[in-house]
Amino acid sequence: MAALFMKKPSTAELDAYYPVRSECQDGIPKTRFKLRAGKTLSARRWHAAFSEDGHLDIEKVLRRIQRGGVHPSIKGVVLEFLLGCYDPNSTFEERNILRQRRREQYVTWKAECQKMVPVIGTGKFITSPIITDDGQQIEDTTKGSKRDNGVMSTSSQDSEKKVIQWKLFLHQIGLDVVRTDRALVFYESESNQAKLWTVLSVYAWMDNDIGYVQGMNDICSPMVILLDNEEDAFWCFERAMRRLRENFRCSASSIGVQTQLGTLSQIIKAIDPKLHQHLEDLDGGEYLFAFRMLMVLFRREFSFVDSLYLWELMWAMEYNPTIFSLYEGPGGATDASAEPKVDEKLLKQCGKFERNNRKTGSAEQHHNALAVFLVASVLKTKNKQLLKEAKGLDDVVKILGDTTGNLDARKACTEALRIHKKYLSKTQKP
Protein backbone atom coordinates (compact mmCIF):
# COMPACT_ATOMS: atom_id res chain seq x y z
CA MET A 1 0.00 0.00 0.00
CA ALA A 2 2.77 2.37 0.90
CA ALA A 3 3.90 2.28 -2.68
CA LEU A 4 0.71 4.06 -3.69
CA PHE A 5 1.75 7.03 -1.67
CA MET A 6 5.32 6.98 -2.79
CA LYS A 7 6.21 10.46 -3.88
CA LYS A 8 6.83 10.68 -7.57
CA PRO A 9 9.81 12.93 -7.99
CA SER A 10 10.35 14.69 -11.26
CA THR A 11 13.55 14.13 -13.21
CA ALA A 12 14.75 17.43 -11.82
CA GLU A 13 14.55 16.04 -8.29
CA LEU A 14 16.26 12.91 -9.50
CA ASP A 15 19.10 14.90 -10.98
CA ALA A 16 19.42 16.57 -7.60
CA TYR A 17 21.01 13.38 -6.31
CA TYR A 18 23.87 14.07 -8.70
CA PRO A 19 23.78 17.85 -9.00
CA VAL A 20 25.01 19.47 -12.19
CA ARG A 21 26.98 22.71 -12.20
CA SER A 22 24.64 25.51 -13.16
CA GLU A 23 26.86 26.70 -16.02
CA CYS A 24 26.83 23.21 -17.56
CA GLN A 25 23.09 22.60 -17.74
CA ASP A 26 22.89 23.14 -21.49
CA GLY A 27 25.68 20.90 -22.67
CA ILE A 28 24.43 17.58 -21.30
CA PRO A 29 21.78 15.10 -22.45
CA LYS A 30 18.37 15.28 -20.77
CA THR A 31 17.53 12.63 -18.20
CA ARG A 32 14.64 10.36 -19.13
CA PHE A 33 14.71 7.93 -16.24
CA LYS A 34 11.78 8.23 -13.86
CA LEU A 35 11.29 6.62 -10.50
CA ARG A 36 8.21 4.48 -10.83
CA ALA A 37 6.32 3.34 -7.77
CA GLY A 38 5.85 -0.40 -7.76
CA LYS A 39 8.54 -0.88 -10.39
CA THR A 40 11.73 0.83 -9.28
CA LEU A 41 13.64 -0.97 -6.54
CA SER A 42 13.15 1.24 -3.49
CA ALA A 43 15.29 1.33 -0.36
CA ARG A 44 12.43 -0.24 1.59
CA ARG A 45 12.05 -3.12 -0.85
CA TRP A 46 15.77 -3.62 -0.92
CA HIS A 47 16.08 -3.94 2.83
CA ALA A 48 13.06 -6.21 2.96
CA ALA A 49 14.74 -8.59 0.52
CA PHE A 50 17.31 -9.64 3.15
CA SER A 51 16.69 -12.44 5.62
CA GLU A 52 17.52 -11.89 9.26
CA ASP A 53 21.06 -13.14 8.93
CA GLY A 54 21.61 -11.37 5.63
CA HIS A 55 20.75 -13.72 2.77
CA LEU A 56 19.48 -11.71 -0.16
CA ASP A 57 16.52 -12.79 -2.29
CA ILE A 58 18.32 -11.91 -5.50
CA GLU A 59 15.54 -13.25 -7.70
CA LYS A 60 13.06 -10.76 -6.31
CA VAL A 61 15.55 -7.92 -6.51
CA LEU A 62 16.51 -8.65 -10.09
CA ARG A 63 12.88 -8.69 -11.13
CA ARG A 64 12.44 -5.19 -9.77
CA ILE A 65 15.60 -3.78 -11.25
CA GLN A 66 14.85 -5.14 -14.69
CA ARG A 67 11.46 -3.51 -14.50
CA GLY A 68 12.30 -0.07 -13.19
CA GLY A 69 15.90 0.40 -12.12
CA VAL A 70 17.20 1.29 -8.67
CA HIS A 71 16.43 4.21 -6.37
CA PRO A 72 19.41 6.59 -6.13
CA SER A 73 19.67 6.14 -2.37
CA ILE A 74 20.79 2.50 -2.76
CA LYS A 75 22.47 2.43 -6.15
CA GLY A 76 25.97 1.81 -4.77
CA VAL A 77 25.16 -1.18 -2.57
CA VAL A 78 22.99 -2.76 -5.22
CA LEU A 79 25.73 -2.38 -7.79
CA GLU A 80 28.10 -4.31 -5.53
CA PHE A 81 25.82 -7.32 -5.76
CA LEU A 82 25.07 -6.96 -9.47
CA LEU A 83 28.77 -6.88 -10.27
CA GLY A 84 29.55 -9.89 -8.10
CA CYS A 85 31.48 -8.23 -5.28
CA TYR A 86 29.33 -10.18 -2.85
CA ASP A 87 27.40 -13.40 -2.78
CA PRO A 88 23.68 -12.91 -2.14
CA ASN A 89 23.79 -16.32 -0.54
CA SER A 90 25.95 -15.20 2.37
CA THR A 91 25.34 -13.62 5.76
CA PHE A 92 25.90 -10.03 6.84
CA GLU A 93 28.78 -11.23 8.96
CA GLU A 94 30.48 -13.13 6.15
CA ARG A 95 30.23 -10.10 3.91
CA ASN A 96 31.61 -7.80 6.59
CA ILE A 97 34.65 -10.02 6.97
CA LEU A 98 35.12 -10.09 3.21
CA ARG A 99 34.73 -6.34 2.93
CA GLN A 100 37.31 -5.85 5.64
CA ARG A 101 39.74 -8.18 3.89
CA ARG A 102 39.25 -6.42 0.56
CA ARG A 103 39.78 -3.01 2.09
CA GLU A 104 43.03 -4.21 3.63
CA GLN A 105 44.16 -5.59 0.28
CA TYR A 106 43.49 -2.27 -1.38
CA VAL A 107 45.36 -0.41 1.34
CA THR A 108 48.35 -2.70 0.77
CA TRP A 109 48.39 -2.04 -2.97
CA LYS A 110 47.95 1.65 -2.40
CA ALA A 111 50.90 1.65 0.01
CA GLU A 112 53.05 -0.01 -2.65
CA CYS A 113 52.12 2.74 -5.07
CA GLN A 114 52.67 5.44 -2.48
CA LYS A 115 56.19 4.19 -1.91
CA MET A 116 56.98 4.74 -5.56
CA VAL A 117 55.02 7.95 -5.99
CA PRO A 118 54.43 9.71 -2.67
CA VAL A 119 51.66 11.98 -3.94
CA ILE A 120 49.28 9.03 -3.92
CA GLY A 121 46.94 9.23 -0.96
CA THR A 122 47.64 12.88 -0.19
CA GLY A 123 44.43 14.18 -1.73
CA LYS A 124 46.43 15.63 -4.62
CA PHE A 125 47.33 14.24 -8.00
CA ILE A 126 49.46 14.85 -11.03
CA THR A 127 48.78 15.88 -14.63
CA SER A 128 52.35 16.22 -15.86
CA PRO A 129 54.72 13.39 -16.70
CA ILE A 130 57.05 12.36 -13.89
CA ILE A 131 59.16 10.07 -15.99
CA THR A 132 60.32 9.84 -19.63
CA ASP A 133 59.64 6.90 -21.90
CA ASP A 134 63.06 5.45 -21.17
CA GLY A 135 62.60 5.71 -17.43
CA GLN A 136 64.43 8.97 -16.63
CA GLN A 137 62.97 11.04 -13.82
CA ILE A 138 61.71 14.39 -15.01
CA GLU A 139 63.00 17.21 -12.85
CA ASP A 140 60.50 19.96 -12.44
CA THR A 141 62.39 23.12 -13.28
CA THR A 142 59.62 25.13 -14.85
CA LYS A 143 57.22 26.26 -12.19
CA GLY A 144 55.96 25.64 -8.71
CA SER A 145 52.77 23.88 -9.59
CA LYS A 146 50.85 20.88 -8.35
CA ARG A 147 53.60 18.53 -9.25
CA ASP A 148 56.17 19.34 -6.62
CA ASN A 149 54.04 17.99 -3.83
CA GLY A 150 56.53 15.25 -3.12
CA VAL A 151 55.92 13.61 -6.44
CA MET A 152 59.52 12.57 -6.96
CA SER A 153 60.20 8.98 -6.24
CA THR A 154 62.03 8.10 -3.09
CA SER A 155 63.83 5.21 -4.70
CA SER A 156 66.27 6.13 -7.42
CA GLN A 157 66.33 2.73 -9.05
CA ASP A 158 63.21 2.56 -11.15
CA SER A 159 64.69 0.43 -13.84
CA GLU A 160 62.03 -2.22 -13.62
CA LYS A 161 59.88 -2.12 -16.72
CA LYS A 162 56.64 -2.60 -14.88
CA VAL A 163 57.30 0.41 -12.68
CA ILE A 164 58.21 2.63 -15.61
CA GLN A 165 55.16 1.52 -17.53
CA TRP A 166 52.94 2.32 -14.61
CA LYS A 167 54.49 5.70 -13.93
CA LEU A 168 53.89 6.68 -17.52
CA PHE A 169 50.16 6.15 -16.98
CA LEU A 170 49.87 8.48 -14.00
CA HIS A 171 49.83 11.84 -15.75
CA GLN A 172 47.52 10.50 -18.46
CA ILE A 173 45.08 9.44 -15.74
CA GLY A 174 45.41 12.92 -14.25
CA LEU A 175 44.73 14.62 -17.58
CA ASP A 176 41.58 12.54 -17.95
CA VAL A 177 40.39 12.88 -14.36
CA VAL A 178 40.18 16.67 -14.65
CA ARG A 179 37.94 16.15 -17.71
CA THR A 180 35.73 13.38 -16.33
CA ASP A 181 32.07 14.21 -15.69
CA ARG A 182 33.02 17.85 -15.42
CA ALA A 183 29.39 18.86 -15.43
CA LEU A 184 28.84 17.26 -12.02
CA VAL A 185 29.26 19.33 -8.88
CA PHE A 186 30.93 16.29 -7.31
CA TYR A 187 34.10 16.81 -9.32
CA GLU A 188 34.45 20.47 -8.46
CA SER A 189 36.25 19.20 -5.38
CA GLU A 190 39.92 18.44 -5.84
CA SER A 191 39.79 15.67 -3.27
CA ASN A 192 37.05 13.90 -5.22
CA GLN A 193 39.14 14.19 -8.38
CA ALA A 194 42.06 12.78 -6.42
CA LYS A 195 39.88 9.89 -5.26
CA LEU A 196 39.11 8.96 -8.86
CA TRP A 197 42.77 9.40 -9.81
CA THR A 198 43.95 7.19 -6.95
CA VAL A 199 41.52 4.37 -7.68
CA LEU A 200 42.53 4.35 -11.35
CA SER A 201 46.22 4.55 -10.49
CA VAL A 202 46.08 1.67 -8.02
CA TYR A 203 44.08 -0.34 -10.54
CA ALA A 204 46.68 0.30 -13.24
CA TRP A 205 49.33 -1.00 -10.87
CA MET A 206 47.36 -4.04 -9.81
CA ASP A 207 46.28 -4.98 -13.37
CA ASN A 208 49.46 -4.14 -15.24
CA ASP A 209 48.37 -6.17 -18.24
CA ILE A 210 45.79 -3.53 -19.00
CA GLY A 211 47.19 -0.60 -17.08
CA TYR A 212 45.22 2.46 -18.01
CA VAL A 213 43.40 3.20 -21.23
CA GLN A 214 41.28 6.29 -21.84
CA GLY A 215 37.66 5.40 -21.22
CA MET A 216 38.33 3.54 -17.99
CA ASN A 217 37.78 6.88 -16.28
CA ASP A 218 34.19 6.92 -17.58
CA ILE A 219 33.61 3.46 -16.12
CA CYS A 220 35.24 4.26 -12.78
CA SER A 221 33.69 7.67 -12.15
CA PRO A 222 30.19 6.45 -11.18
CA MET A 223 31.67 3.96 -8.70
CA VAL A 224 33.62 6.73 -7.02
CA ILE A 225 30.46 8.83 -6.78
CA LEU A 226 28.13 6.06 -5.63
CA LEU A 227 30.41 4.49 -3.01
CA ASP A 228 31.74 6.91 -0.41
CA ASN A 229 34.45 4.58 0.72
CA GLU A 230 37.44 4.66 -1.64
CA GLU A 231 38.33 1.02 -1.01
CA ASP A 232 34.79 -0.12 -1.81
CA ALA A 233 34.69 2.03 -4.93
CA PHE A 234 37.90 0.39 -6.08
CA TRP A 235 36.47 -3.11 -5.74
CA CYS A 236 33.28 -2.20 -7.49
CA PHE A 237 35.34 -0.83 -10.36
CA GLU A 238 37.57 -3.89 -10.30
CA ARG A 239 34.52 -6.15 -10.70
CA ALA A 240 33.15 -4.02 -13.52
CA MET A 241 36.52 -4.32 -15.22
CA ARG A 242 36.33 -8.11 -15.04
CA ARG A 243 33.59 -7.81 -17.64
CA LEU A 244 35.14 -5.01 -19.59
CA ARG A 245 38.90 -5.32 -19.37
CA GLU A 246 39.33 -7.28 -22.59
CA ASN A 247 37.92 -4.27 -24.44
CA PHE A 248 40.79 -2.20 -23.10
CA ARG A 249 43.57 -4.58 -24.04
CA CYS A 250 45.86 -2.82 -26.49
CA SER A 251 48.29 -4.62 -28.72
CA ALA A 252 50.51 -3.39 -31.51
CA SER A 253 47.84 -4.08 -34.08
CA SER A 254 44.47 -3.79 -32.39
CA ILE A 255 42.36 -2.75 -29.43
CA GLY A 256 40.38 -5.40 -27.57
CA VAL A 257 36.98 -3.86 -28.21
CA GLN A 258 37.39 -4.80 -31.85
CA THR A 259 36.48 -8.37 -30.89
CA GLN A 260 33.08 -7.10 -29.75
CA LEU A 261 32.80 -5.05 -32.93
CA GLY A 262 33.37 -8.27 -34.86
CA THR A 263 30.53 -9.89 -32.95
CA LEU A 264 28.35 -6.88 -33.69
CA SER A 265 29.11 -7.33 -37.36
CA GLN A 266 28.03 -10.98 -37.19
CA ILE A 267 24.83 -10.07 -35.39
CA ILE A 268 23.79 -7.40 -37.88
CA LYS A 269 24.71 -9.69 -40.75
CA ALA A 270 22.41 -12.34 -39.31
CA ILE A 271 19.43 -10.22 -38.30
CA ASP A 272 19.56 -7.43 -40.88
CA PRO A 273 21.69 -8.49 -43.85
CA LYS A 274 20.59 -5.51 -45.93
CA LEU A 275 21.83 -3.03 -43.35
CA HIS A 276 25.07 -4.93 -42.97
CA GLN A 277 25.63 -4.87 -46.70
CA HIS A 278 24.95 -1.17 -46.81
CA LEU A 279 27.45 -0.48 -44.03
CA GLU A 280 29.99 -2.65 -45.76
CA ASP A 281 29.50 -0.71 -49.00
CA LEU A 282 30.22 2.46 -47.07
CA ASP A 283 33.46 0.90 -45.87
CA GLY A 284 32.01 0.55 -42.38
CA GLY A 285 32.06 -3.21 -42.13
CA GLU A 286 34.39 -2.97 -39.16
CA TYR A 287 31.72 -1.09 -37.21
CA LEU A 288 34.33 1.26 -35.77
CA PHE A 289 31.61 3.88 -35.39
CA ALA A 290 30.30 1.85 -32.43
CA PHE A 291 33.70 1.90 -30.75
CA ARG A 292 32.86 4.44 -28.09
CA MET A 293 29.47 3.03 -27.20
CA LEU A 294 31.05 -0.29 -26.28
CA MET A 295 34.19 1.13 -24.76
CA VAL A 296 32.46 3.33 -22.19
CA LEU A 297 29.10 1.53 -22.13
CA PHE A 298 27.03 4.33 -23.60
CA ARG A 299 28.17 6.93 -21.07
CA ARG A 300 28.32 9.57 -23.80
CA GLU A 301 24.91 8.79 -25.26
CA PHE A 302 23.09 9.20 -21.95
CA SER A 303 22.90 11.65 -19.07
CA PHE A 304 24.67 10.54 -15.90
CA VAL A 305 21.47 9.28 -14.27
CA ASP A 306 20.37 7.49 -17.41
CA SER A 307 23.68 5.72 -17.89
CA LEU A 308 23.44 4.43 -14.34
CA TYR A 309 19.92 3.24 -15.12
CA LEU A 310 21.16 1.52 -18.28
CA TRP A 311 24.01 -0.17 -16.43
CA GLU A 312 21.66 -1.45 -13.72
CA LEU A 313 19.34 -2.87 -16.32
CA MET A 314 22.19 -4.43 -18.28
CA TRP A 315 23.96 -5.92 -15.33
CA ALA A 316 20.72 -7.21 -13.83
CA MET A 317 19.85 -8.84 -17.15
CA GLU A 318 23.33 -10.34 -17.42
CA TYR A 319 23.36 -11.48 -13.80
CA ASN A 320 24.10 -15.06 -12.98
CA PRO A 321 24.27 -16.38 -9.43
CA THR A 322 27.64 -18.06 -9.84
CA ILE A 323 29.40 -14.82 -10.74
CA PHE A 324 30.65 -14.25 -7.20
CA SER A 325 32.34 -17.63 -6.77
CA LEU A 326 33.62 -17.43 -10.30
CA TYR A 327 35.47 -14.18 -9.66
CA GLU A 328 36.49 -15.17 -6.18
CA GLY A 329 37.68 -18.64 -7.08
CA PRO A 330 41.22 -19.72 -7.87
CA GLY A 331 42.58 -18.08 -10.98
CA GLY A 332 39.79 -15.52 -10.85
CA ALA A 333 38.26 -16.14 -14.26
CA THR A 334 37.31 -13.00 -16.10
CA ASP A 335 34.75 -14.60 -18.31
CA ALA A 336 31.59 -16.37 -17.28
CA SER A 337 31.74 -18.83 -20.16
CA ALA A 338 33.83 -21.49 -18.50
CA GLU A 339 31.49 -22.45 -15.71
CA PRO A 340 29.29 -25.54 -15.45
CA LYS A 341 25.60 -25.57 -16.28
CA VAL A 342 23.24 -24.22 -13.65
CA ASP A 343 20.16 -26.02 -12.45
CA GLU A 344 16.55 -24.83 -12.55
CA LYS A 345 16.71 -23.06 -9.23
CA LEU A 346 19.78 -21.14 -10.20
CA LEU A 347 18.29 -20.42 -13.59
CA LYS A 348 15.59 -18.41 -11.83
CA GLN A 349 18.28 -16.30 -10.23
CA CYS A 350 19.68 -15.34 -13.60
CA GLY A 351 18.84 -12.12 -15.36
CA LYS A 352 16.68 -12.30 -18.49
CA PHE A 353 19.58 -12.12 -20.89
CA GLU A 354 21.65 -14.75 -19.12
CA ARG A 355 18.64 -17.05 -18.84
CA ASN A 356 18.12 -16.94 -22.60
CA ASN A 357 21.76 -17.78 -23.11
CA ARG A 358 21.56 -20.75 -20.81
CA LYS A 359 18.30 -22.07 -22.14
CA THR A 360 19.83 -22.35 -25.58
CA GLY A 361 23.10 -23.59 -24.19
CA SER A 362 24.93 -20.82 -25.92
CA ALA A 363 26.63 -19.53 -22.81
CA GLU A 364 29.07 -22.39 -23.05
CA GLN A 365 30.02 -21.60 -26.63
CA HIS A 366 30.59 -17.92 -26.52
CA HIS A 367 29.77 -15.27 -24.04
CA ASN A 368 28.53 -12.20 -25.87
CA ALA A 369 27.88 -9.11 -23.82
CA LEU A 370 24.41 -7.58 -23.78
CA ALA A 371 26.08 -4.28 -24.69
CA VAL A 372 26.78 -5.60 -28.17
CA PHE A 373 23.10 -6.37 -28.68
CA LEU A 374 22.30 -2.91 -27.37
CA VAL A 375 24.34 -1.35 -30.15
CA ALA A 376 22.56 -3.67 -32.55
CA SER A 377 19.24 -2.38 -31.25
CA VAL A 378 20.34 1.21 -31.79
CA LEU A 379 21.35 0.39 -35.36
CA LYS A 380 18.08 -1.44 -35.91
CA THR A 381 15.98 1.51 -34.79
CA LYS A 382 17.94 3.73 -37.17
CA ASN A 383 17.73 1.15 -39.95
CA LYS A 384 15.55 3.14 -42.34
CA GLN A 385 17.46 6.36 -41.96
CA LEU A 386 20.79 4.59 -42.36
CA LEU A 387 19.71 2.82 -45.53
CA LYS A 388 18.16 5.88 -47.05
CA GLU A 389 20.34 8.77 -45.98
CA ALA A 390 23.78 7.43 -45.20
CA LYS A 391 25.99 7.95 -48.21
CA GLY A 392 29.24 7.78 -46.37
CA LEU A 393 30.62 6.65 -43.03
CA ASP A 394 30.41 10.22 -41.83
CA ASP A 395 26.64 10.14 -42.32
CA VAL A 396 26.45 6.92 -40.32
CA VAL A 397 28.25 8.51 -37.41
CA LYS A 398 26.08 11.59 -37.68
CA ILE A 399 22.83 9.63 -37.68
CA LEU A 400 23.98 7.58 -34.71
CA GLY A 401 25.21 10.73 -32.99
CA ASP A 402 21.66 12.05 -33.04
CA THR A 403 20.72 9.32 -30.58
CA THR A 404 22.51 11.22 -27.81
CA GLY A 405 19.90 12.12 -25.22
CA ASN A 406 17.17 10.52 -27.31
CA LEU A 407 17.57 6.92 -26.29
CA ASP A 408 15.29 5.25 -23.80
CA ALA A 409 17.42 2.86 -21.76
CA ARG A 410 14.62 0.42 -21.01
CA LYS A 411 13.28 0.31 -24.55
CA ALA A 412 16.78 -0.18 -25.88
CA CYS A 413 17.31 -3.09 -23.49
CA THR A 414 14.01 -4.69 -24.39
CA GLU A 415 14.86 -4.42 -28.07
CA ALA A 416 18.36 -5.78 -27.38
CA LEU A 417 16.84 -8.84 -25.69
CA ARG A 418 14.57 -9.36 -28.68
CA ILE A 419 17.49 -9.18 -31.09
CA HIS A 420 19.46 -11.53 -28.86
CA LYS A 421 16.69 -14.12 -29.02
CA LYS A 422 16.40 -13.74 -32.76
CA TYR A 423 20.14 -14.06 -33.17
CA LEU A 424 20.26 -17.15 -30.99
CA SER A 425 17.49 -18.83 -32.97
CA LYS A 426 19.24 -18.02 -36.24
CA THR A 427 22.62 -19.24 -35.14
CA GLN A 428 21.30 -22.27 -33.27
CA LYS A 429 19.68 -23.78 -36.35
CA PRO A 430 21.20 -27.16 -37.18
Binding site: C24, L175, D176, C250, P273, E389, K391, D395, K426, T427
Partner: protein, 212 residues
Protein backbone atom coordinates in the same frame (compact mmCIF):
# COMPACT_ATOMS: atom_id res chain seq x y z
CA UNK B 1 13.62 6.22 -52.76
CA UNK B 2 13.67 9.45 -54.71
CA UNK B 3 14.04 12.07 -52.04
CA UNK B 4 17.73 12.67 -52.32
CA UNK B 5 17.31 16.24 -51.18
CA UNK B 6 16.52 14.94 -47.71
CA UNK B 7 20.00 13.45 -47.49
CA UNK B 8 22.32 14.41 -44.69
CA UNK B 9 24.91 15.72 -47.12
CA UNK B 10 23.45 18.57 -49.09
CA UNK B 11 25.46 19.74 -52.05
CA UNK B 12 29.11 20.67 -52.34
CA UNK B 13 31.89 20.90 -54.91
CA UNK B 14 34.63 19.37 -52.87
CA UNK B 15 34.77 17.13 -49.86
CA UNK B 16 37.92 17.29 -47.75
CA UNK B 17 39.06 15.02 -44.99
CA UNK B 18 40.92 16.73 -42.18
CA UNK B 19 42.55 15.18 -39.12
CA UNK B 20 43.27 16.64 -35.70
CA UNK B 21 46.35 15.06 -34.14
CA UNK B 22 48.26 15.64 -30.93
CA UNK B 23 48.72 14.75 -27.27
CA UNK B 24 46.01 14.28 -24.69
CA UNK B 25 44.45 17.42 -23.35
CA UNK B 26 45.97 19.88 -25.82
CA UNK B 27 42.47 20.94 -26.90
CA UNK B 28 41.83 19.15 -30.19
CA UNK B 29 38.12 18.60 -29.46
CA UNK B 30 37.76 22.11 -28.06
CA UNK B 31 39.24 23.67 -31.20
CA UNK B 32 36.85 21.60 -33.28
CA UNK B 33 33.83 22.53 -31.17
CA UNK B 34 34.84 26.16 -31.25
CA UNK B 35 35.07 26.00 -35.04
CA UNK B 36 31.83 24.12 -35.58
CA UNK B 37 29.42 25.62 -33.12
CA UNK B 38 30.97 28.82 -31.80
CA UNK B 39 30.61 27.45 -28.31
CA UNK B 40 33.11 26.85 -25.55
CA UNK B 41 32.62 24.21 -22.87
CA UNK B 42 34.44 21.58 -20.85
CA UNK B 43 34.78 18.39 -22.85
CA UNK B 44 35.37 14.79 -21.88
CA UNK B 45 38.39 12.99 -23.32
CA UNK B 46 37.80 11.67 -26.83
CA UNK B 47 37.42 7.91 -27.01
CA UNK B 48 38.99 6.46 -30.14
CA UNK B 49 37.92 8.66 -33.00
CA UNK B 50 35.10 11.16 -33.33
CA UNK B 51 34.28 13.63 -36.05
CA UNK B 52 32.23 16.60 -37.09
CA UNK B 53 31.14 17.98 -40.42
CA UNK B 54 31.20 21.60 -41.48
CA UNK B 55 30.04 22.99 -44.78
CA UNK B 56 31.35 26.33 -45.88
CA UNK B 57 32.09 28.37 -48.96
CA UNK B 58 35.62 29.47 -49.72
CA UNK B 59 36.69 31.19 -52.93
CA UNK B 60 33.31 30.56 -54.56
CA UNK B 61 33.53 26.82 -53.93
CA UNK B 62 31.16 24.95 -51.67
CA UNK B 63 33.16 22.74 -49.38
CA UNK B 64 32.31 19.94 -47.07
CA UNK B 65 34.89 19.40 -44.37
CA UNK B 66 34.86 16.11 -42.50
CA UNK B 67 37.04 16.73 -39.50
CA UNK B 68 38.23 13.68 -37.61
CA UNK B 69 39.06 14.21 -33.98
CA UNK B 70 41.34 11.65 -32.38
CA UNK B 71 42.13 10.40 -28.88
CA UNK B 72 45.43 11.66 -27.53
CA UNK B 73 46.61 8.57 -25.68
CA UNK B 74 49.33 6.89 -27.69
CA UNK B 75 47.74 3.50 -27.11
CA UNK B 76 44.98 4.39 -29.55
CA UNK B 77 47.61 4.93 -32.21
CA UNK B 78 46.90 1.71 -34.08
CA UNK B 79 43.25 2.59 -34.38
CA UNK B 80 43.86 6.17 -35.41
CA UNK B 81 46.46 5.26 -38.03
CA UNK B 82 43.74 3.59 -40.08
CA UNK B 83 42.08 7.00 -40.38
CA UNK B 84 45.12 8.73 -41.83
CA UNK B 85 44.43 7.25 -45.23
CA UNK B 86 43.41 9.81 -47.80
CA UNK B 87 43.52 12.84 -45.51
CA UNK B 88 43.74 16.17 -47.34
CA UNK B 89 44.83 18.15 -44.33
CA UNK B 90 46.28 17.45 -40.92
CA UNK B 91 46.17 19.82 -37.96
CA UNK B 92 48.95 19.14 -35.46
CA UNK B 93 47.94 20.58 -32.12
CA UNK B 94 50.07 21.25 -29.06
CA UNK B 95 49.51 23.14 -25.85
CA UNK B 96 51.79 26.19 -25.54
CA UNK B 97 51.75 25.77 -21.75
CA UNK B 98 53.03 22.17 -21.81
CA UNK B 99 56.35 21.68 -23.53
CA UNK B 100 56.09 17.90 -23.72
CA UNK B 101 53.08 18.17 -26.01
CA UNK B 102 55.25 20.12 -28.43
CA UNK B 103 58.18 17.72 -28.38
CA UNK B 104 55.86 14.72 -28.69
CA UNK B 105 54.53 16.13 -31.97
CA UNK B 106 58.01 15.87 -33.35
CA UNK B 107 58.93 12.57 -31.73
CA UNK B 108 55.71 10.61 -32.09
CA UNK B 109 52.93 12.11 -34.10
CA UNK B 110 54.79 13.50 -37.10
CA UNK B 111 56.42 10.10 -37.62
CA UNK B 112 53.10 8.33 -37.37
CA UNK B 113 51.62 10.55 -40.04
CA UNK B 114 54.59 10.04 -42.36
CA UNK B 115 54.14 6.33 -41.88
CA UNK B 116 50.44 6.05 -42.52
CA UNK B 117 49.09 8.90 -44.57
CA UNK B 118 48.75 8.10 -48.25
CA UNK B 119 48.26 11.57 -49.68
CA UNK B 120 51.78 12.75 -50.38
CA UNK B 121 50.57 16.31 -50.98
CA UNK B 122 48.59 16.39 -47.77
CA UNK B 123 48.68 19.87 -46.19
CA UNK B 124 49.82 20.21 -42.61
CA UNK B 125 49.31 23.01 -40.14
CA UNK B 126 50.95 23.31 -36.75
CA UNK B 127 48.70 24.90 -34.15
CA UNK B 128 49.73 26.03 -30.70
CA UNK B 129 46.62 26.18 -28.52
CA UNK B 130 45.81 27.90 -25.21
CA UNK B 131 47.50 31.24 -25.92
CA UNK B 132 44.97 32.75 -23.50
CA UNK B 133 47.17 31.32 -20.73
CA UNK B 134 50.13 33.42 -21.77
CA UNK B 135 51.59 33.57 -18.26
CA UNK B 136 52.03 29.82 -18.23
CA UNK B 137 53.57 29.64 -21.67
CA UNK B 138 56.41 27.15 -22.08
CA UNK B 139 56.78 27.15 -25.86
CA UNK B 140 57.54 30.41 -27.64
CA UNK B 141 55.98 31.47 -30.90
CA UNK B 142 59.46 31.43 -32.47
CA UNK B 143 59.96 27.77 -31.57
CA UNK B 144 56.65 26.92 -33.14
CA UNK B 145 57.53 28.81 -36.30
CA UNK B 146 60.91 27.08 -36.54
CA UNK B 147 59.27 23.68 -36.18
CA UNK B 148 56.72 24.53 -38.85
CA UNK B 149 59.36 25.75 -41.24
CA UNK B 150 61.45 22.64 -40.76
CA UNK B 151 58.49 20.35 -41.44
CA UNK B 152 56.94 22.44 -44.19
CA UNK B 153 53.82 23.14 -42.18
CA UNK B 154 51.64 26.19 -41.92
CA UNK B 155 51.68 27.71 -38.47
CA UNK B 156 49.28 29.53 -36.15
CA UNK B 157 48.74 30.06 -32.47
CA UNK B 158 45.17 30.06 -31.21
CA UNK B 159 42.87 29.79 -28.23
CA UNK B 160 39.86 27.51 -28.36
CA UNK B 161 38.67 29.26 -25.22
CA UNK B 162 38.66 32.84 -26.51
CA UNK B 163 38.19 31.57 -30.08
CA UNK B 164 41.11 33.70 -31.22
CA UNK B 165 42.45 32.42 -34.57
CA UNK B 166 40.35 29.25 -34.54
CA UNK B 167 38.48 30.02 -37.75
CA UNK B 168 41.74 31.17 -39.26
CA UNK B 169 43.39 27.77 -38.70
CA UNK B 170 40.82 26.04 -40.83
CA UNK B 171 40.66 28.80 -43.39
CA UNK B 172 44.44 28.80 -43.92
CA UNK B 173 44.45 25.05 -44.23
CA UNK B 174 41.57 24.91 -46.69
CA UNK B 175 42.94 27.69 -48.90
CA UNK B 176 46.20 25.81 -49.18
CA UNK B 177 44.41 22.56 -50.02
CA UNK B 178 42.46 24.39 -52.72
CA UNK B 179 45.73 25.58 -54.19
CA UNK B 180 47.09 22.08 -54.71
CA UNK B 181 45.69 20.56 -57.90
CA UNK B 182 46.53 16.98 -56.88
CA UNK B 183 44.52 17.27 -53.72
CA UNK B 184 41.58 18.92 -55.45
CA UNK B 185 41.26 16.05 -57.80
CA UNK B 186 41.28 13.78 -54.85
CA UNK B 187 38.61 15.81 -53.13
CA UNK B 188 36.18 15.51 -55.98
CA UNK B 189 36.99 11.89 -56.62
CA UNK B 190 35.82 11.11 -53.13
CA UNK B 191 32.50 12.62 -54.01
CA UNK B 192 32.23 10.71 -57.24
CA UNK B 193 33.07 7.46 -55.58
CA UNK B 194 30.45 8.02 -52.95
CA UNK B 195 27.83 8.62 -55.56
CA UNK B 196 28.95 5.55 -57.42
CA UNK B 197 28.85 3.44 -54.32
CA UNK B 198 25.42 4.66 -53.49
CA UNK B 199 24.18 3.65 -56.92
CA UNK B 200 25.61 0.22 -56.47
CA UNK B 201 23.77 -0.13 -53.22
CA UNK B 202 20.45 0.82 -54.69
CA UNK B 203 20.92 -1.29 -57.77
CA UNK B 204 21.99 -4.32 -55.81
CA UNK B 205 19.43 -7.14 -55.86
CA UNK B 206 17.36 -7.34 -52.72
CA UNK B 207 18.66 -9.79 -50.22
CA UNK B 208 15.69 -11.58 -48.79
CA UNK B 209 15.29 -13.53 -45.59
CA UNK B 210 18.16 -14.66 -43.49
CA UNK B 211 21.57 -15.47 -44.73
CA UNK B 212 22.31 -18.51 -42.57
Amino acid sequence: MGSSTKGVNGNYDYSFKILLIGDSGVGKSSILLSFISNSVQDLSPTIGVDFKIKQLAVGGKRLKLTIWDTAGQERFGTLISSYYRGAHGIIFVYDVTRRETFTNLLEIWAKEVDLYSTNKDCIKILVGNKVDKDKEREVTREEGMAFAQEHKCLFLECSAKTRENVQQCFKDLVLKILAVPGLLENGSIVVKRQILKQKQVYNAPRVGGCCS
